[in-house]
Amino acid sequence: MRKLLSTCLVGFSLILAASQAFAAAPIKIGALFAVTGPASFLGEPERNTAVMVVDEINRAGGIHGQKIELITYDTGGDATKAVQLANKLIKNDHVVAIIGPSTTGDTMAVIPVVEKAQIPMISCAAGIKITDPVKKWVFKTAQNDSLAVARIFEELRKERKTKVAILTVSDSFGASGREQLKAQARRYGIDIVVDDTYGPKDTDMTAQLTKIRGSHAQAVICWGTNPGPAVVARNAKQLGLTIPVYMSHGVSSKKFIELAGDAAEGIRLPTGKVLVADLLPKSDKQKASLQAFIRDYKKHYRTEGDHFGGHAWDAMMLLKEAISRGATTPAAIRGQIEATRGFAGIGGVFTYSAKDHAGLNKDAFVLVEVRKKGWTLVK
């Protein structure tokens, strides 16, 4: 009896294993994220999100019955390592597509590899040069800095403010912002009357702000990531600066409000819609995606999902859409991604074309104002 039972069991499990192997070889997708190192604030939520999305897809039975296998590697924010790992994904793991890397530096280094191997890649980095000029196999989901700049300038034009002071941090994020601010100012009829910078580790910006107070600027735009902008906010309050202060999307997190304290009140900044998902009108196309992302992320990781994780969510979902439209080979997946029209994700509504692999317009950003230690939409 016992022997019979065990034979049955072995047979049964053999059948099970065989059927699994024949029915659905998993679709292999590679992921490169800077989970450790200086860019870990990007890589970690991105990796978490990608793992989460793949889990959800597989739990729901995969795409057309095919499971997805996600192979993630940590680049540590090191471009050399990113290139090695990209090669490994393509040559050893035989992935059909890659999502990531997290930073512009890593992405630029990996581009020649994927272009040569003809594997589609959806980067989660924001640098404008990733998709400008367009590379055949490279897409991206993070919003360009230029869109955030456009959103601020549009508001200033609406309020008929033509003279602004800019205060940017002297690192790559600030430099890119400064370049965009200066490049787009003329198109919106805006004069940059003070163009000043501060160091990423500076602890007092009263000197720069005093200079701005003495100028005819009607608004200040500060471009940096924490903690600099919080110091700027505090110093502006100390000096009694009466003109409105705009920040970049680099500080669109609760951390900024926490650091700047009361001085954050009234400050405006462009941000992706994750921050204000609940405030969006029902008619907003992205609302459903945003709420799904936030709910799932909270369920899986017990913390709030942010827009960095959103970049990976968008990348995975774009791939999922492409594959569920029947694409299985790298070339077909690339073609289907490029054919994406009006996909409402976390970063915005994506419409790719042969000429545009960034896919977003300035509606990807909303302008928010800090009020009572929370965010409100600026209409």
Binding site: Q208, P227, G240
Partner: protein, 290 residues
């Protein structure tokens, strides 16, 4: 009218540089070491205060005392286990040890408390105070006040108490000091105690203004070092003036020229003084006492 604001901002940052400079000078005078872990003591002051408030739920004053005590303990451990065992080490290797210690402290703090910047609430509100056409915050008054108290305190201590005089004696001539019955090692330990307490105090009083994180110590330490060099490494008024001048020059540089030059100004001055007046701005040239 902008000038006044630049000067006031400069004085505020300068006071901090002065405090840190003083703590450099105190250790230098009793040991001949330039302690490059000094900046980490400043960082520890701020970070530990925030920890004491958020984790231990202490009230502000108790948290500050706990942080200063904690940092002092780190200073004592540092002296006991890294400096004292090396009896005959050259100053150069001791200096390298302090650099190693600073990297270690920074790393441990990063692992324990994370990489996020944190803010300490201001001691007495954030309502700006107007001084003519310039403004300053109540926290600036705290900084000025503490700096003045520390200057007076250190003057009294080093010139009017036996222990203080003993420490100065060690700085002039160690062997002679030990011959007249001064325990040189105790004085060295004491100098580490005073210096780490002073550094952490500086870290605490600036944390509400500048915020703090595991890596703020590096730059502040270097600026304090500049101040001490300008003052000729004396533990007196020279270093304080050095700090204030540095702060004002930085602020004027950022305001009138370009903020890009702010740090360059500090280090240019440092190099200039090391080349031209290595004895400091305010000291008369000293002859080697034989």
């Amino acid at each position: 009218m902008e000038l006044l604001q630049f000067v006031i901002s400069g004085l505020a940052t300068g006071s901090i540089y002065a405090l840190i400079g003083l703590s450099f000078a105190i250790i230098f005078n009793s040991t001949g070491i330039i302690n490059f872990a000094q900046g980490e003591f400043v960082m520890l002051g701020g970070v530990l205060t925030i920890c004491a408030i958020t984790l231990l739920k202490l009230p502000l004053l108790a948290a500050i005392l706990a942080a200063v005590a904690g940092t002092t303990l780190v200073g004592i451990i540092f002296e006991r286990f890294a400096i004292r065992p090396l009896k005959n080490a050259t100053p150069l290797s001791l200096i390298i040890i302090t650099i190693g210690a600073s990297i270690l402290i920074r790393g441990v703090v990063m692992l324990l408390f994370g990489k996020d910047t944190q803010a300490l609430p201001a001691f007495s509100g954030t309502t700006p105070i107007e001084v003519g056409s310039a403004t300053l915050l109540p926290q600036h008054l705290w900084i000025f006040g503490v700096t003045i108290l520390v200057i007076i305190g250190s003057r009294l201590f080093f010139h009017h108490t036996i222990t203080g005089k003993a420490m100065r004696a060690c700085s002039f001539n160690r062997r002679a000091a030990s011959l007249v019955g001064i325990s040189v090692w105790r004085m060295v330990l004491l100098s580490f105690v005073i210096s780490s307490a002073l550094g952490s105090l500086a870290g605490v009083i600036i944390a509400p203004l500048t915020m703090t994180a595991y890596d703020v110590g590096v730059m502040l330490g270097l600026k304090g070092f500049c101040a001490a060099i300008m003052g000729g490494m004396g533990s007196g008024l020279g270093t304080v003036l050095g700090g204030l001048i540095l702060g004002i020059l930085e602020s004027l540089g950022a305001g009138l020229l370009s903020s890009g030059y702010k740090d360059a100004i500090a280090f240019f001055i440092l190099l200039l003084i090391l080349f031209v007046r290595p004895q400091g701005l305010f000291k008369k040239g000293e002859t080697e006492r034989v």
